[in-house]
Each structure stands twice: as structure tokens, then as C-alpha cells.
Symmetry: C2
């Protein structure tokens, strides 16, 4: 029997009748939530995890075929929830993890109370003029080319594009290091799964209410994408952040905490 | 279905293929392990919990009849292990939790790799001249009397007797506060369960190898008791600590860590 807790390096802390679970973005692990998650320990059971292949997950369980689909990552989330007997959970997902949370909530909605989607995108590739995803297919393929030929060069290029906030180079450095500490083959597979998935048709199938946090000047999930998600996701709220870039939980943790708290309060979850 | 994770306020941290689980003594909760447990996070999955009625456990699930037996506390430990799918676990128990770990290991030995028993006592009451437990029955009854009439007075009396190390009054204060923050009725029941249990006949039934940590000048579990446990517990090692009092994990955490590490290394568990 697979030990789910170790497979995903699941960490449980905090105290409260309801659980809040945080999922990290591409090339990242649970450490990225360290400025935000501890805030919720006072009133919630907090669950953190690493996707297989990332952070301190059990990399021996990585299977390229399995993890070529976001659905497999969603299944892992549901297995963690099952292992911990979680229901009525607030799932906070950054970037690709927001889409993973969406897919998991479609499969087992009873596990979820609310979704908090930080920089979600159902489809990264433009289909002009109908859909603005933010990336041309050719540009993305060029990025994968760079990833193959010069992984470190790719990480050095992508990290500042994702993070912005150039006045705080330590943030970009951390993201770069996180990319670089991931196995390059796994990173490439995960990047392909992330950037070539098209989950636009899944959005209307979501029944769990959600909050979309949309950053300013986000090159990965631009405003058009956040607004698209809001239009197609039933029962969603969209909030525009002051934060810039694609990682507000790292660059602007106070605002991220504040907006999540406001949303939970409006929904009667915290006092 | 009872949520075991919340019932016992289970916290999971750390990273490693093997789990080390810490159980707290009478009137205490997992916070008491805060000087020792984090050391093991680098190489182990660390599991902390609060017994029902203590700390941040779900006190609504406290049942005086059920918890009048140490076996029920042992059953809870096994339920936590089942919920987390734990096997081959190192269980570190302080005081009454060492006996709880022993009872759990008799029921489901396959869950346990090793037991670390900090100040264990299978029987607190003297049966002179055959057995030195450390307490006269009359003295204990006087203590329960005080507990009924003046709970705070009782806590003020017992805390320094347990802790020793009078040069560090903050330690005694913490123990006193822990006693005082426990519901007095639950504390009295738990004290009765703890101090009036006689588990001497269970010791020879243990098959899991164990380490006994025996403090100097321990008024709760004196040296005679540690040596009795060692004689009757198959495959046990006894180590005499420099630490004085009954709570070396609080008063002498470095030595406690060091001796546990040495034992685990001798048994091939850590490098």
C-alpha cells in the first residue's frame, strides 16, 4: 500500500474544525506557502503537500505517463484528502495547482468548501482572436527548446518573468533555485503538462464556490485570463490585487492573506 | 466517523521513511516536546498528538468511563497510527505515555520499531518490601484529596516535585500552567488512571525493543522503578541520565536528544 503521507510529504499543523489546504505552482513546493499558511494555523487545520516530483515528495513514485495529465495530480490531492479524512476543505491553489484543485473539486465536490485560485489559467496558449492565454504556441515551444538545451539558462530566464518585483532579487533567486533543484526531466514533463493543458471546458462543471485572485502585470496568467475564468466559473468572485507578478503569496503575502480572510469572512467561515 | 486527526490534534512534520511519534505525560500536551521533536524532523516523519482531554484535543470526545483505563489511551494511539498508515514507528513516551506506548505495542507490535520510555513506571504505589513504586497509597490519596479541595494548590505542590531543577523556575511554572489549564475533572480522572494503574504484569508481554531513560533524583519514577522495568521488559536497554527530575525532555533536551540518537544509531536507524 502506498503511503500517501510520505509520497506527497504531507504536513499537518494548526487547530480548527475546518481544513485549509495549499497547493504549490509549477516547479515549486510547499515552502513557497511559508509566508501565508502559518497565519491560518490558529483557526484551521493546515495541510501542506508536495506534488510528486517536487520538493520532498517521493520521487521514486514519479511516473512520466501518469503525470502527463493534470487529472493525475488532482487524483493525488483527493487521495491525500481521503487519507486524512478531509471534507469541507478550503483548497488554495497557486497557478497550476488552482487548475488541479478545480479538477479535484469536479470529481469529489463534497471534499471542498471553497476554492481559492491564485493566478489560475485554464489554457496558456493564445487562440486569437477568440482566446487570450498569454503565450504564443511558438514562443512556448522555444521555451521548451531552451529547457532541453540549457536547463539552467531556462530557469534564469523564466524566474524573473514569473516573479516580477525586480527590486527584490531574493524572490527571483528563490524561484530560480526551486526550478533548478527540480529534476530537469520531471520539470520538463510537468511544464509540458502545465502549459499544454486546455481545461477551458472544465470550468462550467465546477460547483464549489471560488475566489479568483488576479495579480497586476502577471505575464503567466494575464488579466484577460482571470476574467475568462471568472466568466466561466459558476459562483466565482474575482478580486484584483495590488500585487504584481505571478506569485503574490511570495511577493505580497500580507495582501494575499487579507484577501483570503475577507473572502472567508464574507462566506461566514471566520470571524 | 470520528476525525482522529482532530480528536487528538495530530500534527505531522518532517521528512523521512520512518516515523517517530511522541506522547506526553500526565497533564501535559505535545508542546512539551518542542525542544526535542524538531531535531528529528530532518530524518524522520514526526508525529505529535494530544491525548483526549489534554492540549488542543477535542474535549467533547472525553468520556470518563472510557478513559478510566490506560488501554483506551493506547487504543487512541493505535487509531492515530491506523489513520496515518504508520508501521515500524519509533514511539517516544514520557511518563504515563511510556506505559500507553507499551500497551499499544502489545496489541499491535507490527506498528512499532522501537519504544523510547522516558521515566516509565508500571506501578506508582509501593508494595513493600517487594516493590518500590515511590508512593505510599495514603500519600497518593492525600494528593487526590488536595486535588478535589484545592486544584490550584495541588498543581502548585506537584509541579516542583515533578520538575525539580529549582534554579529554573520557568520550567516549574510551565508545568504548573499546563496542569492548571487542564479541566480539573479530566485531570483528576486522568491522575487516577495514571497513578492507580498496575501494569507490572504487562511488561514481560512486550516484544518491541526499548530504551529506558532513567533520570537522577526522579520523585515520580525513582531509579528502583526504572531498574524494575529494565529487569522485566524483554530486550530493553537502560540508560542513566545526568538529568534530574521527571521531565528531562524539558529540563535537559540536549541530553535527551543525544541518548535517543545514540540508541537509534546503535540499532542502525540513523547515521
Amino acid at each position: 500500500m502506498i503511503d500517501i503521507m510520505r509520497r506527497n510529504h504531507v504536513q499537518v499543523s494548526g487547530n480548527g474544525p475546518q481544513t485549509i489546504m495549499f497547493g504549490a505552482g509549477f516547479g515549486c513546493d510547499q515552502k513557497m506557502w511559508r509566508y501565508v499558511a502559518p497565519h491560518f494555523e490558529e483557526n484551521y487545520q493546515v495541510v501542506l503537500f508536495d506534488s510528486v516530483g517536487m520538493g520532498n515528495s517521493d520521487v521514486t513514485l514519479y511516473d512520466a505517463k501518469k503525470y502527463s495529465k493534470l487529472d493525475s495530480y488532482a487524483k493525488d490531492v483527493l487521495e491525500i484528502m481521503e487519507a486524512l479524512n478531509l471534507n469541507n476543505t478550503i483548497f488554495v491553489g497557486h497557478s497550476v495547482s488552482s487548475m488541479i484543485g478545480i479538477l479535484a473539486s469536479i470529481k469529489e465536490p463534497e471534499r471542498f468548501s471553497h476554492l481559492v485560485l491564485v493566478g489560475p489559467s485554464p489554457c496558456y496558449i493564445n487562440e486569437l482572436p477568440d482566446y487570450v492565454g498569454g503565450f504564443d504556441k511558438e514562443a512556448l515551444e522555444g521555451l521548451f527548446d531552451l529547457m532541453d538545451k540549457n536547463y539552467i539558462g531556462w530557469a534564469n530566464y523564466l524566474a524573473p518573468v514569473v516573479m516580477k518585483n525586480v527590486d527584490r532579487p531574493e524572490l527571483t533567486k528563490e524561484l530560480e533555485d526551486s526550478f533548478c533543484s527540480t529534476d530537469p526531466v520531471i520539470a520538463r514533463n510537468f511544464a509540458k503538462t502545465t502549459f499544454f493543458s486546455d481545461n477551458r471546458k472544465d470550468l462550467p462543471r465546477v460547483t464549489v464556490p471560488s475566489l479568483i485572485l488576479q495579480c497586476k502585470d502577471d505575464s503567466v496568467a494575464p488579466i484577460e485570463v482571470g476574467e475568462y475564468v471568472h466568466r466561466h466559473l459558476p459562483n466565482s468572485s474575482l478580486m484584483y490585487m495590488e500585487a504584481t507578478g505571478h506569485s503574490p503569496h511570495m511577493s505580497h503575502p500580507e495582501e494575499t492573506i487579507e484577501l483570503i480572510e475577507q473572502y472567508l469572512q464574507r462566506n461566514g467561515l471566520t470571524k
